[in-house]
Symmetry: C2
Subunit: 480 residues, 2 copies
């Protein structure tokens, strides 16, 4: 099933835009009386302060500006399903502070953290209403005071805590990186989160060296493909990659030595068959019981890097059972176990590193260098319009992608919209059918349950009869 | 207080030797009827098997050989105080299996694990009676079949799971390493455990790079000094080292940037003053509450390496309270905490790596290279005769050493023995005085307690009187 078949959840942007020309959407009533705050305010100090007290950076006050300036933005209006991310129009030109730049966004990257955030499972995204998105690419449109290392017209990629899924973003220059010659905007939007994550996990925590072995879960996902490519920059590294069978050809071509279909095989057994002593590095985005398995697969001096809890995501809305189960099975380790096994357990999440500008800059420089040498190249799975963000998220959630899912700020053409609308109708019908089927199934189930109950009652009645007879017989025996 | 002042606990070796010429010591009655088993049997297979099922490698059967062959060996006769390690004489030439060499030992290294082992707190040492010791240096005296990379006369250092504290050892060649030109036997015995440990912790788990900061506990100990020297091989590394004040001059000269007296200062506060953001690497040999402190001192992408539980050692015999407390406070961490902090927790112990010959060989080659370049040089604190092993252990236990404590197999001279005997007498007297003083103090304490009890009784009697009077007054009032 591909993302295109999924029912669309987002509002029709054009309709909404027209509505907003006259009134503010119900989800963000604040924007009615005054111009929008700048889309993001990620000066280094603000980000550092935010990181320190763990509350979102306050939106900076700004003077009203040109009223004609408006831009489209995706806004998470509340926690829940795909339809909670809506396309809205923000008005008013954001003010630029010293050290900041304004970027006209071309492409945005989609990440697992965005899916978690929508369900209210990611504490680094400020509370709704808020614009999600940790990365984008685009062209610098304006620079603030004291900005000397960026100029209008520079092509940049941007890495930020949130707020990147819109047409215009304002960020500290330290969060922008010049795009190398020959890099497309899609690639630039696909690179920051996945490659920095994979790079720091493999080379800083993992200390990957020649002849080592690495297990990469979700090897066809964004981080998975980035990690595979980075493994191949080191001599003779054996890569075990899990993915469903239909993706094996692609990931094998991409550098995975042993592709494992986790749906039909026990990956622990498969790894042990080939590498009985275990693994040097396990990258674990799943959490829960998979972290335990990964830990037990480590060789002496092996490193497990836990970088997510994808097992918590089951369905488009928060699944309390999946969350509770993953939480309950969350891995916890005692130093004595680590000492006796000579093992390392690491935790990684780029979202908590947003104030570490120097560290990120160093990793980014190394990654860009590898790109220029042709050793890495982001693989784009698919590109969606902002209007189609629901489809894009569904594709990722249902793990149908091979590589990065991108959102483009380019507006949809009229014909496309009409087609989309038709599809939407079909999807709605489909959904209704599914719902009806579900209801029907439920009715059938209920009927079956009722039948079973009846049978049970009958059986119990029989048992009672039997007991009564037994008693009678006993009474007879006693009489004799 | 230096180790030399401590009362000697070991048996007089010469006396014991003479005894053994006619009878077997009480501690190892098995040796009476048949020749001793080979001092150690650490062929790679045996070691691997032992590592796999976690039981000590069985002593290989051997045919009786020249009866004139005998050698002195330290033997742990049971768990307990310093006196549990006794000097004995083993008889019969150990048989050499294929791939093994026999080494005439010159010097042995003393490690914290040996102290733990004596108290029964180290599960990598086979049960007593057993010869402890993980490292030594010496000259190859015989080679087994198929040994081509070692020859009689080669100077080697040896790293092994146990059994190194004796005059003759038999080990797999893979556990021996040729001594570089110019290295003394003391240095060679001081190098393996401390430098391999420090090297793998800093460079494999820690991934130490220029401009980083490292906290080294017990910076004047064997691993502490090795780690400090290895830190200095990387540009601009800041080393925080804890040690008592009297050792600060030496460790500062050795490369510690900020020496902290943990006895009079809170090291967490001291580190925060200088490095408010925290540390890149914490090496933790202490365990218990110090592991928690170390973890909280980590920067994002910081690594804590736990490699012991020295806090369990309090006094020469097993202190159940210290063990229980350290155990109770043992650090345990949840992956979620690691993810949110972008941190790594590692466990290291060389004793559990004895079957990882390739890993050890690589690390040893790197360490030897640094030695040849003059970048590292083991610091010898003191050298003791085998007869003085109790003093040596006490010196380490009481943390009086700066650098490595070495045991030499060179026999004590007659005059030395006489002096030692005198000292022993004095020490015994000293101990008796101390004991008497303790008893006296206890009596005084008891007397004081008795006095206090009396006073309390008197006070309570007074209170009772007072209450009685109050009651009388109340009764009077009521009457009125």
């Amino acid at each position: 099933m591909s993302g295109e078949d999924a029912p669309a959840q987002q509002q029709n942007a054009e309709e909404q835009k027209q509505q907003q020309e006259t009134k503010t959407p119900a989800e963000s009533p604040k924007t009615e009386s005054k111009p929008d705050p700048p889309p993001t305010s990620a000066s280094t100090e603000a980000a550092a302060a935010a990181a320190a007290d763990d509350t979102p950076a306050p939106a900076a006050e700004k003077a009203p500006e040109e009223d004609t300036f408006s831009y489209r933005a995706l806004v998470l209006t509340g926690y829940g399903g795909y339809d909670k991310v809506k396309l809205q129009v923000k008005k008013g030109k954001p003010a630029l502070k010293s050290g900041e730049v304004m970027v006209r966004v071309k492409m945005c990257g989609l990440n697992f953290a965005d899916l978690m955030a929508r369900q209210g499972l990611y504490d680094r995204l400020p509370s709704p209403p808020v614009t999600p998105g940790m990365e984008c690419s685009g062209i610098i449109e304006a620079v603030g005071e004291d900005v000397t290392d960026r100029k209008v017209g520079d092509k940049v990629l941007v890495l930020n805590r949130s707020g990147m899924w819109q047409e215009v973003v304002v960020v500290a220059t330290t969060h922008t990186f010049l795009m190398p010659e020959g890099m497309s905007f899609e690639e630039a939007a696909a690179l920051p989160v996945n490659y920095i994550t994979a790079y720091l996990m493999l080379f800083d925590f993992g200390h990957l060296r020649p002849n080592q072995s690495v297990l990469i879960h979700m090897a066809a996902g964004g981080v998975g493909i980035a990690a595979t490519q980075l493994c191949k920059t080191v001599n003779d590294v054996t890569v075990f990659g899990t993915a469903s069978a239909s993706k094996h050809e692609v990931i094998s071509q991409g550098g995975v030595t042993h592709a494992i279909d986790y749906r039909t095989r026990d990956y622990v057994e498969e790894v042990r068959k080939i590498s009985p002593k275990g693994l040097d590095i396990v990258l674990d985005p799943l959490g829960g019981s998979d972290t335990h398995k990964g830990y037990n697969l480590l060789k002496p001096m092996g490193k497990l890097v836990s970088y997510g809890a994808a097992n918590m995501l089951s369905g488009q809305k928060k699944n309390l059972f999946a969350v509770a189960k993953t939480w309950y099975q969350q891995f916890s380790v005692h130093t004595l176990s680590l000492i006796q096994g000579n093992r390392s357990v690491c935790g990684f999440h780029l979202g908590y590193l947003d104030s570490e500008t120097e560290l990120i800059a160093q990793a980014m420089a190394a990654v860009m260098d590898l790109y220029r040498q042709g050793k890495i190249k982001p693989r784009i799975d698919s590109t969606y319009h902002l209007e189609q963000v629901g489809d894009a998220m569904r594709r990722m959630q249902e793990r149908n992608n091979i590589g990065k899912i991108i959102l483009t700020t380019e507006p949809m053409k009229e014909e496309e919209k009409k087609e989309e609308a038709k599809k939407d109708e079909e999807k709605k019908k489909d959904d209704k059918k599914k719902d009806d089927k579900k209801k029907d199934d439920k009715k059938k189930d209920d009927a079956k349950k009722e039948e079973k109950k009846e049978e049970k009652k009958k059986e119990e009645a029989k048992k009672d009869d039997k007991k009564a007879e037994e008693k009678k017989e006993e009474a007879k025996k006693e009489e004799n």
